[in-house]
Amino acid sequence: MLTKSKIHQFTERVIKDSDADMTTVSIAGEKEALTRFSNNEITQNVDSIRYTFSIRCVYGDRVGVVSGTSLDFKNIKRFLETAKQIALNQRTGKKIYPLFEPQQYKTCKGYDKGTEDVTPQTRADMVKSAVKLCAKEKMSAAGIMSNAAMLYAIANSKGLFAINENSNATFSITAQTKNSSGWAEDSQTSIKKLNVMKDAEVAVKKAKLSKNPKSAEPGKYTVILEPAAVADILSFLSYTVFNGLRFAEGRTFLSGKMGERVADARINLYDDPFVDGIGGIPFDMEGFPKKRLTLIEKGVFREIPTDRKVAEMLKLENNGHSLGADDEWGPLPLNLRLETGKSTVDEMIKSTKKGILVTQFHYVNILDPMKTLVTGMTRNGIFLVENGTVKHGLKNLRFTQSIMDALMNTEMVGDRAIVQSGGFGGGFSVPAMKVRDFHFTSKTEF
């Protein structure tokens, strides 16, 4: 990736060459290498570096935004001229907030140089060892081994300059038999923390255990959701109930409920970019310092993300969650952290008379944002739990469930969280959960 000084030089040059009243430059860069495998062989192997820059020029109350990919100084004047034309060709203006002065930020840990520089041969060797284990069990393996580095920088004509770097190594594997599959994934800031053999073993074990699955009838069940399954549904809360603008406009489940009990008392949910490995950025997309938020405390709704516009609407402080000066989507919590509880997954299973253990969900989508009603399928390992033990694999089921109802019906929270970066400031940290009355609404054939 480019060095901090090269990024700084580019932003300084843009600001120097601009004749706008206000100029802001942001740069997102990603170096990503990924080895993909299926049917026990490498099928795709790619390496790319991408930069995207965005220039925002304000003339009076008119704004022009341009973006491009090449950080070449010779393009700057052309882009600035286009931004000016866009701004000056608008007949109506809008409210313009002043640019922020230089700020102080806390540090987000999450960059490892060695992870950025992993070679294709190292990735191939890691994949080979995992595939060998699956092949030995007569299973077909598919997955990825990737390493990436990401940077995000913002600078403005008031002298603000902020930059943050993250790295990520991910290994993901699906082991498949004729009628079952098992899955495991690990995502870390450093490749040294990955254990691909352990992941392969988990995937193989799940595939073995779910062989010859039986059908379960749709209905309400107690479910034990492994962390990946929790992440699959909890992530929807970010843009539905915790979108600051939607909240202010009365368009979320939580509108008008601040200070009210909205979840079981075991639920403590934060927006926390400072968790190691979550991929957080300590500032928002206007360069304002990001504050850690307590969204739900002991089941009570406490805080909502704001930017300047939403803060004004709600008469709250700006807590640094802007998605950009001209954003119309609304400030979001990008780093949801569900606080761990005290229970292991084994204890959840042992305490369950009849229930379903879920590895992960697939293709979850929102049906009714006001009710937080989502639907999706189970995937890669779903098991019947009876009288405290895992009995056998089940054919996959579709659920149609309100997420906030699930948080209210939570009976146990896991003692270990997975932490995963979603790239460019996004990511989450969630443990397993045991939830009663989880609604499965139809079944499928495998």
Binding site: L34, S38, E445
Partner: protein, 483 residues
């Protein structure tokens, strides 16, 4: 550009590549957005290249956004090194289907270059629409969008092809969010999630009747707040054209991507129930169901001269008289169904992404019914349209889709408006329940601009043509109150 392209090919061959291709891609986008009267205008331009090589039957790919001779050489060498690493875990060599070499310049027919239409003219139209949409207090959010894209793509391969394609697409649409009665509802026009898109110029936007429909759409959004909820039950449904797009896309398009069928997407997007032993035998739907892929169809978002493997555009059957009859293929996998030539479905998001199999323009052939006659012929049912939500399992069997709006049909008459409409079924069972399809008077192509697939993730665009169709005894209103 072709000079740089040939330099990449020579370099890759020098380092041992058996096959190489390069795509140099320049992309221009203009995205305009008016939300509650506030304008956002974003113009972007990208330029770069991706080099793909085969070394002893294994793939390598590398890319860069620096278009110099030195960088082209460096990246081409890097692609070969990556292919050599891939070669250390190879079960079988890639078999690359034959294709003629072409020297050609292909471009999208477009009457009015949208990038030359004054910004003020485009924003004027958007602000007028926005004004109509926000005339009632129940409308909390109005969003009007326009988006234009121009891609210039230079393709060179080691088999002698030199192809330049100039692709243009234009789109527009709007949506309103109404709030009241302890509810929130959304209505969109001409389609949800950004509107309607075609390949072509600004003339497309001018023909959309955007202003003429704004008041109706606003009033529907308000009426939905107090409309009855679609009850959970088993019922006949007539699915409108814009919702059929998602039905075709999710339950036929992805299911017939040959890489999915063969397990290449098993860890991410999933596999498919439409496996090879079913080819040319499996009853995918009722005998009136005919679905065809067509990369040459006018106005399609996946309409082009050549795909990213350098294969010339074609039209072919996917489902013929209800039977599975074809797949989306590329040059690497065509031989798996004993085809000697690829169908030309290899596409990538841009210069930094490797081409993978993507859904082509895929359409349901029109039937014989007038929509009025179809409604008259339906005793009890629900008409649903405009997609709101979608979900389908990893083998493309169990799906559940939500629609923005529905109407009860009773004794052949369209009745009360219904909200929170959804339907769920199993793919071949659902298509087997199709007993009527409206004719060409009701048929249109609908653009999909947000199709995600692959790791690293890639976005692709394609179109699906359909007219409204009727399906018997379908589970609807999932999660709503039962009768």
């Amino acid at each position: 550009m072709f000079k740089l392209g040939n330099l990449a090919i020579e370099t890759a061959k020098h380092y041992g590549a058996d096959y190489a291709d390069i795509r140099i891609i320049e992309t221009k986008n203009e995205d305009l957005n008016v939300r509650n009267g506030k304008v956002s205008a974003d113009y972007s331009q990208t330029l770069g290249f991706g080099v793909r090589v085969l070394y002893r039957g294994s793939w390598g790919f590398a890319s860069s956004d620096t278009l110099t001779m030195e960088e082209v050489k460096k990246v081409s060498k890097e692609a070969v090194l990556i292919a050599k690493a891939s070669n250390t875990l190879q079960a079988a060599k890639v078999r690359w289907a034959k294709e003629d070499s072409y020297k050609d310049h292909w471009f999208t027919p477009a009457l009015k270059n949208p990038f030359r239409i004054p910004l003020e003219q485009k924003l004027d139209l958007m602000l007028k629409i926005d004004e109509i949409l926000r005339k009632k207090p129940e409308i909390r959010v109005s969003t009007v969008e326009m988006s234009f894209q121009n891609i210039r793509k230079w393709f060179v391969n080691s088999q002698g092809s030199e192809i330049l394609q100039d692709l243009m697409r234009s789109g527009a649409g709007y949506s309103v969010t109404s709030v009241g009665n302890n509810d929130m509802q959304v209505r969109s026009y001409p389609a949800s999630f950004g509107g309607q898109y075609y390949s072509g110029g600004y003339e497309i936007v001018e023909q959309m009747e955007l202003l003429q429909n704004a008041e109706r759409v606003r009033e529907e959004a308000i009426e939905l707040l107090t409309a009855d909820e679609c009850e959970e039950k088993v019922s006949d449904v007539i699915i409108g054209g814009s919702q059929m797009v998602l039905q075709i896309h999710e339950s036929v398009g992805h299911a017939t991507e040959l890489d999915r069928v063969l397990g290449y997407e098993a860890n991410y997007a999933g596999t498919s129930f439409a496996t090879l032993e079913k080819y040319k035998k499996f009853k995918y739907g009722s005998p009136i169901v005919n679905l065809f892929a067509d990369s040459t169809i006018p106005l399609g978002l996946a309409t082009h001269g050549y795909d990213d493997d350098g294969v010339k555009a074609q039209r072919w059957d996917i489902v013929k008289n209800g039977v599975l009859s074809g797949y989306m293929t590329n040059r690497e996998l065509a031989h798996k169904i004993n085809d000697t030539r690829s169908r030309g479905c290899s596409r990538s998001q841009g210069f930094s992404s490797i081409p993978i199999i993507r859904i082509a323009n895929l359409s349901l052939a029109p039937g014989e019914w007038e929509l009025d006659d179809l409604i008259k012929d339906t005793k009890n049912g629900v008409f649903m349209d405009t997609n709101k939500s979608w979900s389908i399992d990893q083998m493309r069997l169990n799906f559940q889709f939500g629609c923005e709006i529905g109407y009860e049909i009773k004794n052949g008459k369209k009745g009360r408006m219904l909200k929170n409409c959804s339907y769920q079924d199993i793919t071949p069972e659902f298509w087997g329940k199709c007993d009527a399809i409206c004719n060409e008077n009701h048929w249109d192509l609908w653009g999909v601009i947000n199709c995600g697939k692959g790791q690293p993730g890639q976005r692709a665009e394609m179109s699906h043509g359909s007219s409204p169709a009727r399906f018997r005894k379908v589970h609807i209103g999932i999660g709503n109150k039962k009768r």
